[in-house]
């Protein structure tokens, strides 16, 4: 009960909430079931880690030694560190496909819903980036958790130091969320025709780019360009598609209507 309510005994008016409060409430709405954004992703990380330990032991047993530079380098190719991302792209989809109709039912504007959802993505991405960058450091410090098992020190992580890990993971996480969310938004706004146009134009764009690079014999140039960017540079470039997905999603959602 609000103050006005108890004073007048009527439900004829409500005390309006400020924009920051409304946007924060959308963040809270997404997080009301903590399993979705926190519980299940870390459960997946935990499971992946257990499996990684087993696989590392098998590799160690068959090659005759885990602590060797070769073995550490070999474990770099494991994608276990990214195991929760497949789940999180679906979470990004559901943030819109379930969250949008629910929020509208709760009288939230599209603008507040999108800003709250984007803020949630930023916060979760920052938290995950910090956690994974720290775990990578810890893994190196403990030489593979004292059992020569490397999961976080994999792919591009643990090569250029803590700050590059932090930045790159943040961008990657943000991209995963916004790609999921923007695909769901395209569906919410344009339904099936939107999906068909989106996926076919994406496929055409990729095939077109590959064709142009191949016909102009530019693959070596592309490889050199990527090499010159470095890990930090490549992820800085990836901010671009994340921003396009984020802002494009906002524009598309402003005119979207929930499904019945």
């Amino acid at each position: 009960m609000t103050v006005t309510d108890s004073l007048t005994g009527t439900a004829a008016s409500v005390h309006p909430r400020s924009a920051p409060a409304r946007i924060w409430n959308v963040v809270r709405l997404h997080l009301i079931d903590r399993r979705t954004y926190i519980g299940i992703p870390w459960l997946i990380v935990g499971m992946a880690f257990v499996i990684t330990i087993f696989i590392a032991q098998i590799v160690g047993f068959t090659t005759g030694g885990l602590g060797t530079p070769d073995a550490i380098e070999g474990q770099r190719y494991s994608w276990a560190v990214l195991s929760p991302q497949w789940y999180l792209v679906v979470v990004g989809v559901q943030a819109i496909s379930f969250g949008f109709p629910l929020a509208l039912g709760f009288g939230v504007t599209r603008r507040d819903f999108y800003l709250g959802t984007a803020l949630l993505f930023l916060l979760i991405s920052a938290a995950n980036a910090l956690a994974f960058a720290l775990l990578t450091q810890l893994e190196q410090l403990t030489e593979g958790w004292f059992i020569d098992t490397y999961m976080f020190n994999a792919l591009w992580l643990g090569i250029d130091g803590f700050w590059v890990d932090l930045f790159s993971f943040f961008v990657m996480q943000l991209l995963v969320f916004f790609i999921g969310a923007s695909i769901a938004t395209i569906y919410m706004r344009w339904r099936m025709p939107g999906m068909l146009v989106f996926w076919s134009s994406l496929a055409l764009a990729i095939v077109g780019a590959v064709t142009i690079i191949t016909f102009t014999s530019n693959w070596p140039a592309v490889a050199i360009w990527f090499g010159a960017q470095g890990i930090g540079g490549i992820f800085a470039w990836l901010l671009l598609p994340a921003a396009v997905a984020g802002f494009g999603g906002f524009l598309a959602l402003r005119r979207a209507t929930p499904k019945n």
């Binding site: 409304r22 409430n25 709760f106 009288g107 209507t257």
Partner: protein
């Protein structure tokens, strides 16, 4: 503050070539219970979605508490829209809904919500996906009542609710409305069940407002005259006949607007007068506009009526 909650003028909503809402104009006064009645696909849900900013109007003006509801946080905070097809996140349980609702509805009453949960015997901890149809409806009904929004829309809120649960809904709605007056718009098929609840009736058919009338006036707006066919025919001649039915030498004719003197005249002529239920009245009015093409011709009542239309 004016006494008007909703003002709609020339509102039209088209989905491609289909016109869901066709040049509709009406106003909704504050602190009354409105019934939005109509057949399936008449445009009830679309109209409510327009009023709550969930759909965008094709043309016309639409004001809720003095402004367009579309993307208007001030207006939307005063609304609560409970629709039969409301979707919830996959992992949600009823407790998640009731824990988050107070963040969006400033007048939310936790104690009232808890009482309703008991009334409807709703399992709070069961995943929403696993609730029965009636339990899912109860979730919406509880949010709609406990939110005490100044303007609350219930769109077919009780799908799958049993008779006991529906009665609880009507009772709690009336009790709470008496204590916390607010504007409520209820769309429903079960017209007779809610007819005592409604203070004003909006009937919509094929996207047009067919009736916009005080419920009390509407109930008194027609009577059924029963008696010998010849007597009845003599009495109703020249009157606005809404429907006609008969068996053998007996006739039962529903006519519009009888005054006190006319009622007395009918009784003097040995005719019986009976009130027409809101449901009968609306069924007769909505079928008469759609024409005989949509009617079931095998029904004797319809046959009797359509020959006179």
């Amino acid at each position: 503050m004016t006494d008007t909650a909703v003002r709609v003028a020339g509102l039209t909503k088209k989905f491609g070539a289909f016109t869901a809402i066709d040049d509709v104009s009406f106003t909704v006064e504050r602190n009354k219970i409105y019934g939005l009645l109509g057949r399936n696909g008449a445009g009830k849900t679309t109209l409510m979605q327009l009023l709550t900013g969930q759909q965008f109007a094709t043309s016309g003006t639409l004001e809720v508490f003095g402004a367009s509801p579309v993307e208007n946080a001030r207006v939307l905070q005063s609304l609560c829209f409970i629709k039969e097809s409301q979707r919830y996140p996959d992992s949600f349980r009823p407790q998640h809904v009731f824990a988050s609702a107070p963040w969006f509805f400033a007048n939310w009453d936790d104690a009232f919500a808890a009482r309703l949960v008991e009334d409807f015997r709703l399992p709070l901890n069961r995943p929403i996906k696993k609730l029965s149809r009636g339990q899912l409806s109860a979730v919406g009904v509880i949010v709609g009542l406990a939110s005490r929004a100044p303007l609350t829309f219930f769109d077919e809120p009780y799908l799958g609710l049993d008779a006991v649960a529906r009665q609880i809904f009507y009772d709690r709605l009336l009790e709470d409305y008496a204590e916390y007056p607010r504007t409520i718009m209820l769309s429903t098929h079960l017209i007779d069940e809610v007819s005592n609840l409604l203070e004003h009736v909006l009937v919509i058919d094929e996207g047009r407002i067919l009736m916009d009338q005080d419920a009390e006036q509407l109930r008194g707006s027609a009577s059924t005259v029963v008696g010998k066919k010849t007597d009845v025919d003599a009495f109703v001649a020249g009157r606005d006949i809404i429907s006609r039915d008969g068996i053998g030498g007996l006739a039962s004719v529903t006519v519009a607007g009888l005054g006190e003197a006319e009622r007395a005249a009918a009784r003097a002529a040995g005719l019986e007068l009976s009130p027409v239920s809101l449901q009968q009245l609306i069924v007769q009015r909505t079928t008469s506009t759609t024409g005989s093409a949509t009617l079931d011709e095998t029904e004797s009542k319809t046959d009797a009526w359509s020959t006179h239309s």
